[in-house]
């Protein structure tokens, strides 16, 4: 234990301690569990040596010693049973403590959530909401009043004069559209364009050429 301790100084000095008392308690419990496990291992190895001793005594016809060894073995076996019982208890305790830790963080989270909720509720007071609702109700009523007044002045969907007016304007508009439609061309197509149409040429170069020709003779293309 020397050089590597000096090379890596303990990080605890610069970092905040993030270990709580309950962490230490859990560590103590787990260390106890480890001790029990070590003890159990020791007992298990004693049992196997008890057994081999008993066999040796039987071979050498030392019956009483063999019985003693077997008694020891039985005793050690009951100790192992006890060990297992303790291990079970300690495991239960550990998981209870760890579960309690989880619950603690859960409660803390609930607390934070609750506080946030309260704060937001304080900002939006009931009076304020009531006022808002009232105001929007007033605005709606006002709007209805305006509507009622307008209807009273006679501008309704059923007003025949107005409807007739509307129809007249629509017809005029339609007439204007019809007059503006260009008349179909009367002149012959230029010979190049005719060829193109006959050949059904659809390659771009051809079309470009035709268009160029048309541009040269604009008088042939009616507006």
């Amino acid at each position: 234990m020397g050089s590597w301790f000096s090379r890596c100084p303990p990080a605890k000095e610069k970092k905040p301690d993030r270990i709580t008392d309950s962490d230490r308690a859990v560590l103590d419990l787990k260390a106890q569990r480890d001790q029990l496990q070590i003890h159990k291992r020791k007992l298990q190895s004693t049992i196997s040596s008890d057994l081999s001793a008993a066999k040796r005594f039987i071979e050498t016809k030392k019956k009483s010693l063999a019985l003693l060894a077997l008694k020891k073995k039985k005793h050690h076996e009951t100790l192992i049973d006890q060990c297992d019982q303790h291990l079970l208890k300690i495991a239960e305790l550990i998981s209870n403590v760890e579960y309690a830790q989880v619950q603690e963080t859960l409660v803390k989270a609930l607390e934070v959530g609750n506080a946030a909720m309260k704060k937001m509720q304080q900002e939006i007071s009931l009076d304020y909401v009531e006022r808002l609702v009232e105001e929007s109700e007033e605005a709606r009523a006002y709007q209805q009043e305006v509507n009622a007044m307008l209807f009273k002045d006679g501008i309704t969907d059923q007003d025949t004069d107005v409807l007739a007016d509307l129809r007249r304007i629509e017809e005029e508009e339609a007439q204007a559209v019809i007059e503006n439609v260009p008349s179909p061309p009367t002149a012959e197509l230029p010979p190049a364009a005719q060829e193109a149409v006959a050949a059904g040429a659809d390659d771009k170069a051809e079309r470009a050429r035709v268009e160029k020709e048309r541009a040269r003779e604009p008088q042939l293309v009616p507006a």
Partner: protein, 185 residues
Amino acid sequence: MESNQWSSPTEFWDLPPFFTIQPTDATREKQLSLWLQVVCHYCRAQRQYFIDISERMADSAPFHNAKAKRKLTLDGLRKICSYMVQHGHGVWMDEGQNRMAVFWRKPQEWAAAIYRWASDSGHLNSVETLFSLREGDDTRDQDFHGLPHEILLIALQALEGQGKAQIFRGSSSDHDGVKFFSQAA
């Protein structure tokens, strides 16, 4: 040791000159880097974690090759170990530099493996004893199971340096424990 079950990662191990530290700088550098591979490979295969600068060590594989009828001198063994320490594959355990911990995986790699296990098995934000990391049933199928206390401690110190864990002692016992954190402080 059971050298017959192990085969060297380099054929140089069967050549007699490999067991004499070479005088030319460039050759020696190459030789030592090969020795580093050999030692790491052997220790990984045998799950060996320490090398003593002793005759007993020099007499056993991988420092002794019965087929080539060659073995390293203590000085050669020391040179190899120093080279490994220089390159982060080992650390001296004592002032007198007679015992070296072999890092056939570097401490950062052990640290990453331990943290991965802690994360996968739901041990983040909880406490574990160093003993149960080394020998507990939970880590039985992990590569770091059986890691000696000293090397485990170095690996955990690496995690501590990254703020991913904290090593501490219990209130009533002097057993080392570690708490893993889900995020660095």
